[in-house]
Amino acid sequence: MHTEAIDPPGIDWQRVSPKYVTVRLVEWAAANLAAVLVLSAPLAMVLLGWWRWPPLWLAVTVPAVMLLAALWRLVLIPRQVRAIGYAERDDDLLVRSGIFFQRTMAVPYGRMQYVDIAVGPVERALGLCSVKLHTASPGTNAHIPGLPATEGARLREQLAARGEARLAGL
């Protein structure tokens, strides 16, 4: 895995579990297929001759565009999952994400207020969990999804221990 452009050089990124792609696929299906189906309803109505409006081209275009966008997002999912990474440095945790819109975040251990572990139904079936760090700032959106449950527990313990050792005030 090569390091991307905005990352600090020489970081050995830990990647999330490839099984997280399945979680993202389920989420994608729930959101996008439903949207495409709803938007296709006028097309069906027009084809059945029940509705006179909208015109056929509009009724075809809208769901088609939605479908294309959804497929594009579908194609991106495996790459997006591969782009998520985290690295435990001596004093802070680095979290990166994104392919087109990249983000690299550094959260000092001493600033962590608490660490959340969340498990959804699909994640539970796959033995995954997601870890979320909170600081005093609402802008700290450090979210590491798709960790194997054991790795998530280890990370949480590790973060808590390091946070305690380097605890700072606000």
């Binding site: 905005i6 990249q102 959260v107």
Partner: protein, 581 residues
Amino acid sequence: MTADGHLPGQPPAPTAPAPPAPVPDSTETSDGDWRRVHPASPFVRGWFALAAIIFFFGRDLLERMLQGQAVFENGFARRAPWLLGGGALVLAVAVLGFILTWYFTKYQVSGGYVRVNTGFLFRQHRQARLDRVQAIDIVQPLLARIFGLAELKFEVADAGESAVRLAYLKIGDARQLRATILARASGAVPDARAGTGPASGPAAGTGSVPDPGTIAGHGTIGGTGAVGGTASGELYPGDHPARPAREAPEATVLAVPPSRLIGSLLLSEQSFVIVVGGAASVVLSAVTDNRAFYFYLVPAALGLAAGYWNFFNKGYNFTAAVSPNGIRLRYGLLDTQAQTLPPGRIQAVKISQPPLWRPLGWYRMQVNVAGYGASGNAVEGNTRTILLPVGMFSDVLAMMSLVLPDPGTDAPAAVFAAGLSGRDSDGGFVTTPRRARLLAPLTWRRNGYAATGTALLIRSGRWWRHLVVVPHQRTQSMALHQGPLARWFRVADLVLHTTAGPVAPRLTQAGLDEARQLFDEQSARARLARKRQTTEQWLRQVVPATAPNAVTGAAEVAAPLPEAAAGDARPHHQQEGQQHG
């Protein structure tokens, strides 16, 4: 309810040998006692309901009298007992509710905590750690002011979004409680017998601007060191631990004259919109020969007048003062408010200048303070986060010297001037590289950053000028962002995360290499700054090795007491400001 009920330095000072307990006379209560708010509080809070009832009945009565009708209808005598009985019942229930509310609202300051219990059906116990205090406000709405009452608001970092509120106390009690809380939160009280901690702390905290002369001749900055020193003499009496904490003395740093406040309102963005909108509607009605446009102006004018009034009412008589316990801001025409921000509690500062203010050289300052941003009421949050409603450049420097006592550079005035009005590499700023000028054709020469020893300065905006200052030790976390366009131009954004508030520090379109380097450097700087700051108690953030010197220093510093205690803004150049922590 006594005016001097709080005794500092008893239970929270386990190391100090217990002094003989003071004779508990009638005017003093001991430290851990539960106390109640003023009995009139529920009535002052519920005045709106009472006023509404009086208004409706009174109007009815008045109309009848004016119309010459009998005040009471026929047959009133028959129903009178029932009406009176019902009215009395409602009144009794209301008064009982008020009394119960008052009876079950208690507060206590002891053992490093403030505890407040409220409610009688749904009881609520809230406690807040004193050393996590972020700000203390004393608020006096008009009615409370008439009765000499005040509300005390206490923001803590670890209490979630809601602050501790005590409404209402007598104004003297509120000040007394504020002094007690601040004396304990500062760490001064447990150390009272040693008498060393406070001595050099305030000087370091408030007066360590390297050269007061460079701060645009504001002699009062140098004078603040003297204020800090005098505080240790009388605030924390080592021989009298039973004496209640006194209010820390303070020196006024600046005041905003009403004329400038009015001017700033007239030249604000909304005035511009009004003028343009008014002109447009006049032109439209002239062209279309339609009078209807005027009708839209009436509600708009009413709303705007209310907005202006609100701002004027809140910003009137704005004064900033400095005391060993932090920055004091006072303002208000009808409703007055006094905020105390202890040293080191300001997370980020934004200095901004709309284009209409530029000819007059005015600036506005806003701050992020933990607890302020999260307060539910948006209007209240807005006014509380204003550090300076309108001020000249010298005022900005004076306030910055309070917020950031050690600017970490030799020429703070030059750096801040470059941050506010400079472009390109003035004052050591690093701007957006030339290759990315198409991304920000107007602002690429302004967008930039400069790092001093203690803070990161981020400047932006060509017409609406902004300068954001984030102390290194207040950075929570940070992130680099880059979109596809930015990647094409090899630039990136650096976002610093601070607590919720009006300031959102974001360095836009920095060169990729510079941004990456800053990301690393900033992590290192924040780490170093965090290590340097060891405790939340600001008077204790002093190396103990300086203790013997500090005692003599305190004596010297305490000498100009009468001058400083006068509390005036008279410039007196003193060298205490050069004591670095």
